[in-house]
């Protein structure tokens, strides 16, 4: 195992970097979910023919989301430094790296959530309207629960992208596994460190994917399970 090849000092560094990555990714994931889900909801419900049509607002919002999505992460990170400084109090460091990560992932998650919620059958929404549900009730009680399996699947995709982006956080002094791999594995030519970083990242991504799939399955009642109630 590569760990045997690593000196105790490098092993400690690896764990330190893992902690930094975990920190950046988990905060960015939480915040981007909290922001991206409502953004996705707005993108759906304000579109023409939906429950709160606001075509101009929808167009502006969609354009803004696309703008962020089409900016390469490395450029985005630099471009929003003033904003990062306001939010994180500094433009360098692990906490500061969370800001561009969140800004980059929120629109991605919003689009994935939007796609998931757009798939919710019009008939279900009408059934809710027919019993007198308000737009907010329709969103909370119908659209989100019905789209939840797909939202969770989208969340998994966004999380994997987020882990990838976090490797670039070294650029703003964020540290983390990617940074470790570049600094030690590449710049100091320690291939065993590079290998260890890659293995750890692969393991994390695999676990995220497995957990995400399991979570999506757990909230999915669209297809019957084996356990049938006796009748």
């Amino acid at each position: 195992m590569p760990f045997d090849l690593l000196s105790p000092a490098v092993t400690a560094l690896l764990f330190e970097s893992l902690k930094q990555t975990a920190y950046m990714v988990s905060i960015a994931a939480l915040v981007s979910t909290a922001l991206g889900l409502p953004l996705g909801v707005l993108l759906v419900v304000t579109s023409p023919g939906h429950i709160l049509p606001l075509p101009i607002f929808n167009r502006i919002l969609g354009t803004a989301v696309n703008l962020v999505r089409s900016t390469p992460f490395i450029i985005l990170m630099v471009a929003i430094i003033p904003f990062t400084r306001v939010i994180a109090g500094s433009s360098v460091g692990t906490s500061a790296a969370v800001v561009p990560l969140t800004v980059a992932i929120t629109p991605l998650f919003a689009r994935l959530a939007e796609t998931a919620m757009r798939e919710v059958d019009r008939g279900l929404i009408e059934a809710a309207e027919a019993i007198g549900a308000s737009p907010l009730q329709i969103i909370v009680r119908v659209i989100i629960p019905e789209a939840l399996p797909s939202i969770v699947a989208g969340q998994t995709v966004a999380l994997v992208s987020l882990i990838g982006y976090s490797a670039m956080a070294g650029t703003v002094g964020g540290g983390g596994l990617g940074d470790l791999g570049v600094r030690f594995g590449y710049q100091r030519f320690m291939p065993e460190v590079m290998l260890a970083v890659v293995i750890v990242l692969v393991a994390i991504v695999q676990s995220v994917q497995l957990l995400g799939d399991a979570a999506a399955r757990a909230v999915n009642h669209r297809i019957a399970r084996g356990k049938r109630s006796t009748s």
Binding site: E126, A127, A130, H221, S229
Partner: protein, 378 residues
């Protein structure tokens, strides 16, 4: 040829004609709907009153505007012109919160059930209560009797994916009835179900109609659905109301061409095309009159064909016919060639009329042609 006498409503409706105007469950007044100017109006000045306690069928060809009409009752579709009153209150003037509150008085069930896959049966039925803001304990108390009513008490914790189509529709019905509406709208609620399940759902709707006095508006393509549960029928064609009346009357004496062709699967109003093609509008030498006889009530059991033979010595040749039951009342239509009737035709007609039958000469058939095609005379 003969004027059709009006037939009184054969099923006791909850309210007689002499009741005050306020007894209407739904009053639709000059309703029009245009989606796009180019396509023209989908509903064109439709006025219709649905009395309380009725099961009011709505039929018409695909695209006639049935769904649009029904969706205008709970304003899922907003009409371009006209007004809709439910339980005496104008719905069309309402918006926002007031409209949402008013919708609680109007239940709706759908062809594809539209139950939430993410919620259990109980969760689906709880939705209207949650929307109405009832406390949790109250909701828990109200769900079991509803599930009992629709026969799903044993499935409370099942998800829709574990249910059959008929059971999903029962969930839809329980959800629609949760807030105790005064009207239930059904848009082809049984179209996606097999005949047996359709029967069960119809029986349930009829029970609910009787037990709760609920008014039901029911769109259907299936004429046996009409025959089995509708007390009145409205016929739409190209967005216009072309006919409306008690089910038996519309089935027995449809006035519009649409209704006649629509009902021909159930009541033999129209001759099969190859036979119809041979009818002549005017008598010629060597032709016999073709009579269309509508039986209603007891006359359906009289041996009238035998009577024609023995009394007039005419030779009836049956072209087409069928007897069915609407409610418990027989309804039959028989088309026959009155072979050799000749000058006795007026006497034949008045004798048939004296049996309480409705007779009409619909054309003439050249004796040999029809006889050859349909075998020996009776």
């Amino acid at each position: 040829m003969n004027a059709v006498p009006p037939i009184s409503d054969f099923r006791a409706s909850a309210i007689g004609d002499d009741d005050p105007a306020g007894a209407a469950a739904v009053r639709i007044d000059g309703l029009s709907k245009t989606f796009s100017k180019a396509a023209g109006p989908v509903l064109d000045d439709v006025s219709l009153t649905i009395r309380r306690g009725e099961i009011h069928g709505i039929i018409g060809r695909s695209g006639a505007g049935k769904s649009t009409l029904v969706r205008c009752i709970n304003l899922l579709e907003r009409p371009s012109a006209g007004r809709v009153f439910v339980s005496g209150r104008e719905i069309t003037s309402l918006r926002g919160r007031a409209l949402r509150t008013a919708r609680r008085d109007i239940g709706m069930i759908f062809q594809h059930f539209n139950v939430l896959s993410s919620k259990t049966v109980a969760g689906n039925v709880a939705l209207p209560f949650k929307v109405a803001g009832l406390p949790r304990a109250e909701i828990a108390r109200r769900i079991p009797p509803l599930l009992e009513l629709v026969g799903l008490a044993h499935k409370a914790d099942a998800y829709p994916s574990e249910l059959s189509g008929g059971q999903k529709q029962r969930v839809g019905i329980a959800r629609a009835l949760a807030l105790d509406p005064s009207v239930l709208l059904c848009d082809e609620a049984t179209s996606a179900l097999d005949p047996e399940t359709t029967e069960q759902i119809l029986a349930l709707l009829r029970d609910i109609n009787r037990q709760l006095g609920l008014t039901i508006v029911l769109i259907t393509h299936e004429m046996q659905v009409l025959r089995d549960i509708a007390t009145r029928v409205a016929v739409l064609d190209h967005g216009r109301l072309v006919e409306e009346g008690a089910t038996f009357d519309v089935l027995a004496f449809p006035k519009s061409a649409v209704a006649r062709s629509f009902l021909s699967g159930l009541v033999a109003h129209e001759l099969p095309p190859p036979v119809a093609a041979r009818l002549l509008p005017e008598p010629v030498a060597d032709s016999d009159p073709v009579l269309r006889i509508v039986f209603t009530g007891d006359a359906a059991h009289d041996p009238i064909v035998a009577d024609l033979v023995s009394h007039f010595q005419i030779v009836p040749n049956i072209l087409h016919g069928r007897i069915d039951y609407v409610g418990d009342r027989p309804l039959g239509v028989l088309t026959l060639v009155a072979g050799d009737a000749g000058k006795r035709l007026p006497a034949v007609l008045s004798r048939l009329a004296s049996f309480g039958l409705f007779v009409e000469v619909i054309g003439h058939a050249v004796r040999s042609a029809v006889t050859r095609r349909h075998g020996a005379a009776v």
